[in-house]
């Protein structure tokens, strides 16, 4: 038997790169051809930004910045959440529930490639949304931020997609394929509202202002706001730490849900 052991092909760095990039490419291609994902994910934050950030009173000041600038950061967060939660939540629930994930797991695909592919897809969508919001805000909402500030906002949102990918993954590991989009909506809309992403937190009731720090969306929203000049007291570190903590919790939940599958299948 040991003679066979020696023949197991190893993944070289070049081959690993090929596997990961191919997985990411086809994940993106597969998703781009699904209007049910693409259209709501892209138009939802853009449409609401046009309504609230551009059409009505976008130039009024809120703290040191205009409302249009404030909402640029918070709708970016909304867009990132939507792309990640729906991409992972609905995507993983479908592929797991209908047995496709099992086909991939039976292949020599490194399990991480599956997650990297989906994360890449979420990040591309996030980047498209943030960039589109900036263009809308600059052209029609009187937003003036430096290229540096924009790149910092973009970078924050790209990295900030990861906790929501993890949350989506956790949902995808528990929810039935048909139920997943509803579960995502139930979490997504209240969480983004209560985190001060639709309306500035200052305009929300006191108890919501106190509850917000318990939501991951609040922390990404605050980090986004810092990049556009809406600085709150305190540094970025507590928000980054909170997001990292949420990511770990979501990944552990996902892992637990995933191993539960072993019991469920075929029973």
């Amino acid at each position: 038997m040991s003679s066979y052991a020696a023949e197991i092909p190893r993944f070289s760095a070049g081959r690993a790169w090929r596997v990961y990039s191919t997985e990411a490419k086809y994940e993106l291609l597969k998703t781009l051809r699904q209007p049910a994902y693409v259209i709501p994910t892209l138009t939802f934050p853009l449409l609401f930004y046009v309504m609230f950030g551009v059409a009505f009173g976008g130039r009024q000041a809120i703290g040191p910045v205009s409302l249009a600038t404030y909402l640029l950061a918070t709708y970016s967060t909304v867009g990132v959440m939507g792309a990640s939660l729906f991409g992972f939540g609905a995507g993983v629930a479908m592929e797991r529930g209908y047995g496709w994930l099992q086909v991939k797991r039976a292949s020599p695909m490194p399990p991480l490639a599956y997650l990297v592919g989906k994360t890449f897809m979420s990040i591309i969508f996030s980047a498209i949304i943030v960039t589109s919001l900036l263009i809308l805000g600059t052209l029609f909402g009187g937003v003036h931020i430096s290229i540096i500030a924009f790149l910092k906002l973009l970078g924050t949102m790209i990295v900030g997609a990861i906790p929501f990918c993890a949350l989506g993954l956790a949902i995808g590991c528990y929810a039935a394929p048909n139920a997943a989009p509803a579960v995502v909506n139930v979490l997504f809309l209240p969480m983004s509202f209560c985190s001060g992403l639709w309306l500035p937190l200052q305009l929300l009731p006191k108890f919501l202002q106190h509850a917000a720090p318990y939501l991951p969306a609040y922390h990404l929203g605050q980090l986004g706001l810092k990049q556009v000049g809406f600085g709150e007291a305190g540094g970025s570190l507590p928000h980054v730490a909170a997001l990292a903590g949420f990511t770990v919790v979501f990944l552990l939940l996902a892992l637990r849900g995933f191993s539960r599958d072993d019991v469920k299948v075929n029973a």
Binding site: M1, S2, E7, Y26, T31, A106, P108, M109
Partner: protein, 307 residues
């Protein structure tokens, strides 16, 4: 556990329980290099569980699963393995060639796209989206994904269930070709016909226990019973004297005779009772064949079945 140089995959004393049922109970089986092993059994017998264990999709409750001497849950141990599993829905917005190219990227020395398409009978269709395919074509794509990595060991979990005849024969033909090339194939099925057409060796599972094991001819001899029903004045004890008869029973007003050789039995019956009437000859169903094997298994290995 008997294992030797030629064992490419094995289950050794594997028990696998799900929450409510025991899917496999102390099952040991060796897959030998270059053979086509069929795992035959009715629905719920534990066939899919055995394959899932060998693919590392689930871990044994007790006992050991190995492929090429490794734990199959290690992704790189699956580098020489291909698998065709039962799947309810495949992503529909990728083209056939994209699905195949993605799976090819997982393997170190895959087949070319073209030879994969040819082997699966998908030439000229590579640019079609998966969602636009017929049921048989979809199954061919799943077969293509299983072989595109040029695997030495191939698992096919009920590959032809519900397929049109042409796709079934295409898959059979490709399986034979793979065996000729020296590959090893593990096939689960509940079609006796499929086992007959393809397999070197058969393991029969029922209720999570191996109830029979042997060459396909041996298993066939044990299951290829036919049934004669008729009205006759002959008593069962008289009919049992005919050498080819394996069992006789009386059901309502009719006599039921089981045999593997219908013609000589019929000849004898008519000689002894020229007035024999309401004659009916049928193949025993697979269900009956399994029952028979299970019964025999009981006699051979009582402790294994009742454990």
């Amino acid at each position: 556990m008997q294992s030797n140089e030629s064992t490419v995959a094995s289950l050794a004393g594997v028990t696998k329980k799900y929450t409510k049922i025991t899917a496999l109970r102390d099952v040991s089986l060796n897959v030998r290099a270059g053979e086509l092993l069929a795992v035959l059994g009715p629905n719920g017998a534990g066939k899919t569980t055995a394959v899932r264990l060998l693919l590392g999709l689930t871990k044994p409750g007790s006992g050991l699963a190995t492929v090429f001497g490794h734990d199959p849950r290690n992704a790189s141990a699956r580098g020489r393995i291909g698998a065709m599993l039962q799947v309810a829905k495949v992503p529909e917005t990728l083209k056939i060639k994209e699905h195949i190219n993605l799976f090819r990227s997982y393997y170190a020395n895959p087949l070319s796209l073209q030879s994969t398409l040819e082997a699966a009978g998908l030439e000229g269709m590579e640019n079609r989206l998966f969602g636009a395919l017929s049921g048989g074509q979809k199954q061919r794509v799943l077969f293509a994904l299983a072989i595109c990595g040029n695997p030495d060991l191939l698992f096919l979990d009920e590959p032809t269930v519900g397929l049109d005849i042409s796709t079934r024969h295409l898959i059979w033909q490709q399986i034979r070709r793979l065996i000729q090339q020296g590959r090893t194939v593990v096939l689960t099925t509940h079609y006796l016909e499929e086992v007959d057409a393809l397999a070197d060796r058969v393991v029969v599972l029922n209720h999570g226990v191996i109830v029979a094991e042997g060459t396909s001819a041996e298993i066939k001899a044990r299951t290829a019973q036919r049934k004669i029903r008729c009205s006759t004045r002959l008593r069962p004890s008289e009919i049992e004297l005919i050498p080819e008869v394996s069992s006789v029973s009386e059901q309502e007003s009719r006599t039921e005779i089981r045999t593997s050789q219908v013609e000589p039995v019929l000849r004898e019956l008519f000689i002894r009772d020229p007035n024999l009437s309401a004659l009916e000859v049928s193949n025993s169903t697979l269900e009956e064949a399994f029952l028979k094997i299970v019964e025999t298994g009981n006699h051979e290995n009582p402790q294994e079945v009742t454990a």
